[in-house]
């Protein structure tokens, strides 16, 4: 590792080495360049929005921050609700496939879950309006009647079921395949020795999973969840179609007034936007960019801090 050694011994580079290393360099550089190009575009196009005339904002809002605030809230709220619903189910499916199901069934089930990922979001949107919302609406009515004293379930109940809770269910279904696929791969990576050791010590299958598989897979579960969260944060069409939006911060889950998400708001208002209106929408896009970045950084920090205890080393 001394500098002398580095200068004297120089490996002969074959063409394949050079081509491959420059190919990876280009690939790595390209993603940075694309990201930078998007960020710069958003930043430049957003500038007019921050100093926009109060009259340019629709509704009662008079400045950009009060306009984007409820949208950021709605984006994070719906995505986190989706994550809460999707992650336990995804872990369950992944464990079933990796440790419980007969091999043949496991393979088929794996394909089926992957198939869900290939369904276009418009189809999920149509399914949300046409099937899911009417299906859950009576359930919502009962929930509001019985548990209306609990703030998130307070009324008045939506007559169509097109609420943020329904959106969260749709989003959960959409992010399920990606979380399941990654969890499944991670669980299959659990060292067989760990599993056998646990079983040999008298652990039941559930105890073995709790002691050997889950701790080993925790960083993977977290990064899978973060990938799912990223998709839920940015989902546009399904939310735009299913949600009945308003312009405020609303915690209630079952009313027809719901905080909109950033991506859905852009999709809804871009077709008729002009002038500074376009800049305002792009500036909300910049906020989504920032939110996603923060979420990913948070996830990285969590994974790195947990690695030491995971048993993976």
């Amino acid at each position: 590792m001394t500098t002398a050694a580095a200068t004297t011994i120089k490996a002969r580079q074959r063409p394949g080495d050079r081509i491959f290393s420059s190919a990876t360099l280009i690939a790595g550089g390209l993603i940075l360049a694309v990201l930078a190009a998007v960020a710069i575009f958003l930043l430049v196009e957003s500038l007019p929005a921050f100093i926009a005339d109060p009259g340019e904002f629709s509704g009662d809002t008079t400045n950009f921050w009060s306009y984007v605030g409820p949208l950021v809230f709605g984006t994070i709220y719906s995505a986190i609700l989706a994550l809460i619903m999707a992650v336990p189910v995804a872990i369950g499916i992944a464990l079933f496939i990796s440790h419980f199901a007969p091999r043949k069934l496991a393979q088929g089930l794996g394909y089926l879950v992957d198939l869900l990922a290939a369904v276009p979001s418009v189809v999920f949107g149509l399914w949300g309006i046409g099937v899911l919302a009417p299906l859950v609406q009576p359930f919502y009515s009962n929930l509001v009647d019985w548990f209306g004293w609990f703030p998130p379930f307070a009324g008045p109940v939506s007559g169509t079921g097109r609420t943020i809770f329904t959106v969260a269910i749709v989003l959960a279904v959409m992010i399920l395949p990606i979380i399941t696929a990654i969890c499944r791969e991670i669980f299959l990576q659990t060292p067989l020795l760990h599993e056998e050791a646990a079983l040999a010590l008298g652990a039941t299958r559930w105890e073995m999973i709790r002691m050997a598989v889950l701790p080993f897979g925790l960083p993977g579960i977290i990064s899978a969840s973060m990938l799912g969260l990223g998709r839920a944060l940015g989902e546009t069409m399904a939310v735009a179609m299913v949600l009945s939006p308003s312009r405020e911060v609303i915690f209630q889950l079952l009313t027809s007034q719901n905080s909109n998400t950033i991506a859905s708001n852009i999709a809804l208002n871009f077709p008729e936007a002009h002038g500074v209106g376009v800049n305002i929408l792009l500036a909300t896009g910049l906020m989504l960019f920032v939110v996603t970045l923060l979420v990913n950084m948070l996830a990285r920090t969590i994974i790195n801090s947990r690695k030491a205890f995971s048993g993976a080393n």
């Binding site: 007034q257 809804l268 077709p271 008729e272």
Partner: protein, 362 residues
């Protein structure tokens, strides 16, 4: 192995054969109907209101069939965007749900000859229906005040005495009203709120805008509103009448009678509305008379304008625009749009007025 070796080329050959033969069939069909005597050639670019996109596509198809040398593009970029692009000279005409503002008229138009202005021509009338879905109710009468109270949230149940007073024979349930509005910015919302603002000025104090000003249920696009009303319970909403489908539509109180929407009644209110004052004589911007008391008129309509120059910087473009808009505003063009997009055809009088203005365009 043998099958693989010969099978693959055979499959490719068959597939290619099918693809080629289907191509040939297409090509044979196209030049069959180019019996046009038209001498017009060129490309026309327009942009604007998405509401009239379906109609524009039908008009473009009709016009290009008759004039094979002409290519017309219409980009549904929104009314505001369309006017902006036209003023900046990016397009030859604009489609817009609202007429040009005084401010826009005071500026210069890049496509037009120096010192000439642009005019608004009403070419697209679409009635807006109040749609509802309430169990056991097939007919519903509404007046502007009650409608404004429902959509602003002042009336919340179907058996409210204001609604009962208008519908003494109906069995109205004691259920919450779910009022659906457009969640995306839309000219339909602007015309609906304009109607409420004019006809129920005491109740509806918000100014007309593309964005719905109150809460309630929101849905994306006309189809979204129609879906929400269809699938929900105790629903009411507003949508372009052509898209209302099998839903029941409410009658609006005009004068002393309740008027159901018909294309004729919608065209009638437009024909009966005065021109906006203080504009050039050939600018046909309409001050829609939403407060009409004539029961032959249905006041809840959306009117879109074609915005064209009085005189084009390039006379050849002027010829093209003139021919195209003349076709749009003709009886034939209106019939095409009625079939394709459910518009209410212009009355003969309005058609003549538009044609008279177009005759001066160059």
């Amino acid at each position: 192995m043998n099958f693989k070796r010969f099978g693959r080329p055979a499959v490719i050959a068959i597939a290619a054969g099918l693809a080629l033969s289907s191509c040939a069939a297409n090509e044979g069909a196209t030049p069959a109907d180019d019996a046009s005597a038209s001498t017009l050639t060129g490309t026309l670019n327009g942009a604007g209101a998405s509401s009239m996109d379906a109609a524009q596509q039908a008009w473009i198809a009709g016009f290009q069939t008759a004039n094979t040398g002409v290519t017309i593009n219409y980009e549904p970029s929104g009314s505001g965007g369309g006017r902006e692009a036209f003023i900046a000279g990016g397009t030859d005409f604009a489609g817009s749900d609202s007429y040009m503002s005084e401010e826009e008229l005071a500026g210069t138009f890049a496509s037009c000859a120096p010192d000439s202005k642009a005019v608004d021509l009403p070419v697209y009338i679409s009635p807006i229906a109040v749609i509802f879905n309430v169990d056991g109710v097939d007919e519903l009468n509404m007046d502007a005040d009650t409608l404004a109270k429902i959509f602003s949230g002042a009336i919340t149940t179907w058996d409210d005495e204001a609604i009962v007073a208008l519908n003494p024979d109906a069995t109205l349930p004691s259920e919450t009203i779910n009022a659906v509005h457009r969640s995306d910015d839309s000219g339909t919302t602007k015309n609906f709120t304009d109607y409420l603002g004019q006809a129920a000025a005491d109740v509806w104090t918000e100014k007309a805008s593309d964005t719905f000003p109150f809460g309630g249920e929101g849905a994306k696009g006309t189809s979204g509103v129609v879906d929400a009303v269809t699938n929900g319970t105790n629903m009411i909403g507003y949508a372009d009448a052509s898209q209302a489908g099998s839903l029941s539509t409410a009658k609006l109180k005009v004068g002393d009678e309740f008027v159901a929407y018909t294309p004729e009644a919608a065209a009638e209110v437009v024909a009966g509305s005065p021109l906006v004052e203080g504009r050039a004589a050939d600018d046909l911007a309409l001050d829609l008379n939403r407060k009409t008391t004539n029961p032959a008129e249905y006041p809840l309509v959306l009117v879109s304008y074609a915005i064209v120059c009085n005189e084009y910087a390039d006379p050849a473009q002027g010829e093209l625009v003139k021919a195209y808009i003349e076709y749009i505003a003709s009886a034939a063009g209106q019939t095409v749009a009625e079939e394709a997009a459910g518009v209410a055809p212009l009355t003969a009088e309005l058609e003549a007025n538009v044609a008279a203005v177009l005759a001066t365009v160059k």
